[in-house]
Symmetry: C2
């Protein structure tokens, strides 16, 4: 049986996923997005038709991938007739049961990665987590996931939530630390460029060490003299100095344990 | 004139620096460290003699590199006779003037990188910041720095402090975010391994985008529903949930500006 998909949503995740599927021979017949521009852009990329009306979503595909913002589920999905086909969402923090009212056949395919329009990513290296409401659906979804990724793991909804939270810390929050560094540099007439090698090495270190072992800096060595100097230097910026204190305190307490 | 060095300190930074210098033909005659084991270990690596007594540090080298913890300066340096030779410290958050009482010729060579014993690093790619108390000393130091790094920049003490603080945010604090992620994963029976590709991609993204542009996640898209879910999930761990809140708030306020 040849698979064909419909994509509900046309953002970064939908785009990377649809393109990766197409490259492995799993075509998409239709793309839905609220905005015509996004819908058309993705549809053109993968030779699909597109619609901006949930009512016009085709009922004849074999799999529906829902890659909407979490709060759009309830406004869009009730208006689509899925004909009880396999409906799969891609969200880290939504349980499988979020799809219960829309189809008798449901699943989750959650790729743990940060997607941006600008960057090409090797999907094969992305850990993909799947869940489904029956053995049959799990087996279909596993077949699809293993076409695009070499790292497919079944997890339940609670563990997927833990993965999503871990991703928020390791990616979103780490990236915000880069932004704060950029802020300090800018305020002192220095280029972000200068700390890029340091950022890359910090991310590479944890391929060989645990992040606990890899921790360096004034907080982990309890170098209060340096911390005081830094806080004096930052004293004009309440937000930066408060964050400096809070995160340093957290490092103290983690490395005391 | 052929240069030769003495290293005061034998930690990670001293080791990486002394080895890089040796590879470029700048030899070290002697290593001082408080502990014999560290002193001998570095000395053996670079064919130098070693001592654990500040009074026995040779007075005949051309350059002295001080790579001690900041708070060891005052206990060790007054006991060394530097003969007014060029004395260079490697600390981000100490001013050049910290060396004033020990020699008439002073400098700073600050490599902006996180060093660990276990990892080999290409020193040529490391941004190195220098400062000196005279044109002559700056020129000597520049000559040395440019042998080991392709990215040498003169900066004053205030800007070097800003660089160090930026490094704390971008490296030490980002790494602590990895540790917190690891904590969430462990508590839910999941391997850190799973989020390594995400961490690497997060660090690679900012080679093409500014970290401000690269920001993703529930906080930057004001997805309060997901944030609430995450906080409920973390509610058993006060420390993790407080940090989640604080950093999310900081993301809100940065991306409102």
């Amino acid at each position: 049986m040849s698979l064909n998909c419909v994509f509900i949503g046309a953002g970064n995740l939908a785009t990377h996923l649809a393109v990766a599927l197409k490259e492995e021979g799993v075509g998409t017949v239709q793309v839905y997005s609220q905005t015509e521009r996004s819908a058309k852009k993705l549809a053109d990329k993968i030779n699909a038709s597109f619609t901006t009306s949930p009512e016009k979503v085709s009922g004849s595909a074999s799999v529906y991938f829902v890659a909407l913002k979490d709060d759009a589920f309830q406004s869009v999905l009730p208006r689509i007739n899925f004909n009880n086909k396999l409906v799969v969402h891609c969200a880290g923090s939504l349980p499988l049961s979020a799809l219960d009212s829309y189809s008798a056949n449901t699943g989750v395919l959650y790729p743990l990665q940060t997607f941006s329009k600008e960057r090409v990513i090797d999907f094969k290296q992305i850990p993909v987590f799947i869940e489904a409401n029956s053995d049959k659906n799990r087996s279909v979804l596993l077949g699809i996931a293993e076409k695009i990724s070499d790292k497919v793991t079944p997890v339940n909804s609670a563990r997927r939530m833990a993965l999503h939270i871990a991703a928020v810390f390791a990616s979103n929050f780490a990236n915000h630390c880069y932004t704060l560094a950029d802020e300090v540099l800018k305020e002192n007439g220095l280029q972000f460029e200068l700390i890029r090698p340091l950022i890359q090495e910090t991310a590479m270190k944890i391929t060989e060490l645990s992040p606990f072992e890899a921790q360096t800096g004034p907080a982990v060595r309890h170098d209060h003299q340096t911390i005081e100097k830094h806080l004096r230097f930052l004293s004009g910026d309440k937000e930066l100095s408060e964050l400096y204190k809070t995160i340093s305190k957290s490092i103290f307490s983690f490395h005391k344990k």
